[in-house]
Amino acid sequence: MSFDPAITLFSCHYTSQQSCAEEGKELERLGFPAGINLVRVACTGKLQVTTLLKAFEDGADGVYVVGCPEDGCHNVKGSIRAAKRVAAVREALVELGVEGERVEMYHLPRGLHPEFVEKGKEMDSRIRELGPSPFQG
């Protein structure tokens, strides 16, 4: 199935610095998927389960979170908390009969690094394969 997925990415300031490089043009230049809507948050530990669910309610086909490495979060345990909430959302999706892979957590290095773009591409192709969100009504 070919469609252009709408993906919401929540990322902390520390892991998404690339989005600021070249006045925001670098990500585009590196082939970061255009359908990814990046929401920067001070710390992913601030994200609530409802925040992630709301993204699905608002029409996202997939949602993912990028936070600091588990053992190197700027706010100590922020990204671990985020991972727990992502896991809770994943469980809830499965309960609703929806693929849990539509939500994901990545722990990436801080600063400018290629993985940020890589994971975006990974998520984009995963959601393309899964097809549109079953929550579209």
Binding site: V49, A92, L96
Partner: protein, 223 residues
């Protein structure tokens, strides 16, 4: 506190299948403390109900609100404020007491339980709750070093431990503490292990609910 867990979503979605508008009603009592049915969990549930219905091709309006408690008439009376809102049903995230109280006191309100009410317990570790008391109506904690054999012994033995006690664990599972071993150790640490030798008489369980639903009436509090 009363400890509860959210029911599986499939069960909840089935309950509200024919509803166009529901009120998800949180309780700010026990279930807030055990993170099963407070305001935050009610918001999550509301979102999941909307998503679940959408997936089934249906739309539903879900509004979230909360009461201080759902086990007191004075707070249930506050539901008057929702009377004119045209809800098809209330989905209560209180314990079973709350759901019963809404049913008892609001004859025109259909109410569904969002939680499975599990037990009376406490939390010693973050995110973990364990059963501590079964509300038996005839407490024996003064004889057992403050540890409950009714709720915490798999067989509710009054003269334990049984032969299945191994190295402090219960025969039903190696993860389960043998509370009678703990009672023995604890009484011993107070120099009271002789208490273990007192034969507990056959128990009258009528106070534990085996004589029908229980009721407490305090004349000094009624006017």
């Amino acid at each position: 506190m009363i400890v509860a867990e959210r029911k599986p979503m499939a069960e909840i979605i089935e309950m509200v299948q024919d509803c166009k508008k529901v009120l998800v009603l949180a309780c700010r009592g026990c279930v807030t403390v055990c993170s099963a049915g407070g305001e935050r969990e009610a918001e999550i549930l509301s979102s999941l109900i909307r998503l679940g219905m959408k997936k089934g091709g249906k739309s539903i309006e879900v509004v979230t609100a909360s009461l201080v408690r759902q086990c007191d008439r004075e707070y249930i009376d506050e539901m008057d404020q929702f009377e004119d809102d045209g809800y098809d049903a209330v989905v209560s995230t209180a314990c079973g007491v709350g759901v019963n109280f809404i049913s008892n006191l609001r004859k025109d309100t259909m109410v569904y339980p969002a939680l499975n009410t599990s037990f009376m317990g406490g939390s010693a570790e973050q995110g973990e709750w364990t059963e501590q008391c079964a509300g038996c109506g005839d407490c024996v904690l003064h004889l057992t070093g403050g540890l409950c054999p009714v709720a915490r012994c798999a067989k509710s033995l009054m003269n334990g431990p049984c032969g299945g006690s191994v190295d402090g664990t219960c025969e039903i599972h190696s993860d389960v503490e043998c509370v009678w071993q703990s009672i023995y150790d604890r009484l011993g640490s107070f120099g009271k292990s002789a208490q273990m030798e007192v034969i507990a008489p056959i128990r009258d369980w009528s106070a534990a609910g085996h004589g029908g639903p229980r009721k407490v009436v305090r004349d000094d509090l009624t006017v």
